[in-house]
């Protein structure tokens, strides 16, 4: 185990075809990250049908590369256009856009890409080391442990997601309810179909992702009136090299951001709070906190390092436990099932070539990615010069194509439109969308784990407390679930005024 597995992975990831796939994925991903209304989750969902005929390893490399590209692309719009493409790029705009306005866009972009790369690399190394161990532990898990982990996943959305905890809870419940619609495989009974044949198949989460994130997002962006007033890129080799000379000064920020990112990131909804937390820490420990918000390079380094470390860390529970840490990872998990793989700890023993190929491709993908975005910024930024009256219908058409392709079914395109409207209303009312998607993906797994656990204990909920591992996880889950109730109480006890809530989503 260890090194030779990684070498096996590299022998798979570094074939001409898979490198080509990575380049294609990163290019498309960066474009998707730059475009409004097409985030990582959505882009992966739309491309998923195209991978059905590919070998699974190449398919996952395409989708993960797309994800890295989208993470990089988000930085371009945040810095040059002051539009955070993803919620975790919000903190990057604080100092990135002022820098670009001062003509230091090239410096800010170089810093952002380099930080992303370092944050990602840190998480990938940790995944390489810990994933096999975690998978080994997870092999001993029974249904109560798995249900407890699911509980932890969703309660951390409620406790850590920011925003209104009740609304997070509604999103989760709605996701689970939508997942339950259709045939119940265990008993063979139809649930909540009311005699409508189209409802028997249930709701596919890929269609939900495309509708909620794609159509909903595009409706929000036209509502705000799309005006792209971009700053000049000012990117050339000299700027890159000069920025690289300055960056070692921020070594502490890199390390802090990487740790925060990884720690927050392997729990769901972690990337956004991680980026804000890293920014806040950098400001607090800086000698010049007053410069933050007016174009301080460290203010770009901190959130980008953490966001990328978190984005990569979200893959850890996906490959080891079969429980995705983010909507994008959730879509990839759906891909795994479609390609005929069983997500979960068994992957490490049964499909080592797939798992290690994936892990090795994280290294190659990020190396290729950082080089490509550094060289290609002007090209990618030029995409936003395309008038919005062309981009908007194009994105809608791409979403419709993607939604239809999942099951070759027209009803899915209608669901996509409905989910689009729901996404628009939910986003405006601060209902987070990520937990809804995750609940829709994990619904059947969670229900089965709960059923099997209850059968083991003849219907008693104590099964989640009598087994040591399940008990620890369940208690942690309950702690997060009731954190929104406990925090104000704890603060009052210590005489601290209540904190303003962090932005939702993640």
């Amino acid at each position: 185990m260890g090194l030779e597995n990684l070498l096996l992975g590299f022998s798979i990831a570094v074939t001409p075809f898979n490198l080509f796939v990575a380049v294609v994925g990163i290019t498309l991903g960066t474009i998707i990250g730059v475009l409004p209304g097409l985030g990582g989750a959505n882009g992966v969902a739309i491309l998923l049908p195209l991978t059905f005929t590919m070998p699974p390893t190449s398919a996952i490399i395409l989708l993960t590369s797309l994800y890295w590209g989208a993470l990089f692309g988000g930085a371009i719009t945040s810095i040059l256009f002051n539009i955070p493409g993803e919620p975790w790029s919000v903190a990057t705009t604080f100092d990135g856009y002022p820098l670009a306005r001062q003509g230091k866009g090239g410096q800010a972009l170089t810093a952002a890409f380099t930080s992303s790369f370092i944050g990602a690399l840190f998480s990938i190394v940790l995944i390489t080391l810990f994933a096999p161990l975690l998978a080994e532990i997870a092999l001993k898990f029974g249904p109560p442990e798995f249900f407890a982990i699911q509980l932890l996943t969703f309660s951390s959305f409620v406790g850590l997601g920011g925003g209104n905890p009740l609304k997070s809870l509604v999103s989760i419940l709605l996701g689970f309810i939508l997942a339950a619609v259709g045939l119940d495989i265990v008993t063979g009974q139809l649930r909540m179909t009311f005699g409508v044949t189209d409802l028997m198949k249930g709701f596919d989460f890929i269609v939900a992702v495309i509708g909620l994130f794609g159509i909903g997002e595009i409706m929000l962006s036209v509502e705000e009136g799309l005006t792209f007033r971009g700053a000049a890129t000012g990117m050339n080799l000299k700027v890159v090299l000069e920025t690289w000379k300055i960056l070692p000064r921020y070594a502490r920020t890199f390390v802090r951001g990487s740790f925060i990112g990884f720690w927050m990131g392997f729990k769901p909804g972690g990337a956004t709070p991680a980026s804000f937390m890293s920014y806040a820490f950098a400001k607090r420990f800086s000698k010049h906190p007053e410069r933050f918000g007016h174009g301080e390079l460290e203010g770009v380094v901190a959130p980008e390092t953490a966001a990328h470390a978190a984005g990569v860390a979200a893959m850890l529970p996906m490959i080891t436990l079969g429980i995705p840490g983010s909507p994008t990872a959730a879509v990839m998990l759906g891909g795994l099932i479609i390609w005929g793989l069983q997500p979960g700890p068994l992957l490490f023993t049964e499909k080592p070539d797939f798992v290690w190929g994936l892990i090795a491709s994280m290294y190659t993908g990020n190396v290729i990615g950082v080089i490509m975005v550094l060289a290609g910024v002007p090209l990618f930024a030029a995409i936003l010069k395309v008038p919005f009256a062309i981009l908007t219908p194009l994105i809608v058409v791409v979403c419709a194509v993607g939604a239809y392709a999942v099951h070759s079914s027209m009803i899915d395109v209608w669901y996509m439109l409905i989910f689009g409207v729901v996404g628009y209303v939910f986003k405006k009312l601060d209902y987070p969308l990520a937990p809804l998607v995750l609940a829709l993906v994990l619904g059947d797994l969670a229900e089965n784990a709960l059923r099997q656990s209850l059968i083991m204990s003849q219907g008693s909920l104590t099964v989640f407390f009598t087994r040591p591992i399940a008990c620890v996880i369940t208690l942690a889950a309950l702690f997060f679930l009731f954190m929104p109730v406990l925090t104000p109480w704890w603060r009052r006890l210590r005489g601290v005024p209540p904190a303003p809530s962090a932005p939702a989503e993640g």
Partner: protein
């Protein structure tokens, strides 16, 4: 007003919760001969949903009306995206009423070409040449990528049939 929107959304979710609880009770939400029955999990989901939406409604009620949920100027561009998109989906699949084809489906490629052209011309006021090139070019590229390269079929209509696909 945001409060109204919040209350309406909570109301809709409450109704969903009631429907879920109702259907779960029909299926049986208790303990069957071989473990939890079909309605067990949805019953609790629905029940908690009802409680939480009531709490959200109470919160919204106390908070006051808030900002307008959406202004007329904001809604206009949103509807300009939404209604033509609905029309595109209708044109793609056609309309069938009681087994009778009222409107034959044009297929996704033709419908998306019409949608692209309509939006670019009516909202963007782009030149006819730009509109024509893009609204034909984009579906053709989509066709080549999906239909011929990746072999993922899209809904097709009379035009594709005439071309021999």
């Amino acid at each position: 007003m945001t409060r109204t929107a919040d209350l309406v959304t909570a109301g809709v979710l409450l109704v969903i919760g009631l429907i879920v609880v109702g259907d779960s009770l029909r299926l049986g939400a208790g303990w069957g001969s071989d473990g939890p029955m079909s309605g067990f999990f949805p019953f609790w989901l629905g029940a908690i949903l009802i409680l939480v939406t009531l709490a959200i409604a109470a919160q919204a009620w106390r908070r006051g009306p808030g900002k307008p949920f959406v202004t007329r100027e904001q809604l206009r561009p949103v509807m300009q995206v939404l209604w033509p998109a609905v029309a595109m989906v209708v044109l793609t699949g056609g309309v069938t009423l009681g087994g009778m084809t009222m409107l034959p489906g044009l297929g996704l490629y033709v419908a998306s070409a019409l949608y692209l052209a309509f939006y670019m011309r009516s909202v963007g006021r782009h030149r006819w040449l730009t509109v024509a090139v893009l609204s034909v070019g984009i579906p053709v590229i989509t066709f080549l990528v999906f239909e011929t390269w990746f072999l993922v079929p899209m809904p097709k209509g009379p035009l594709e049939a005439w071309l021999g696909y």
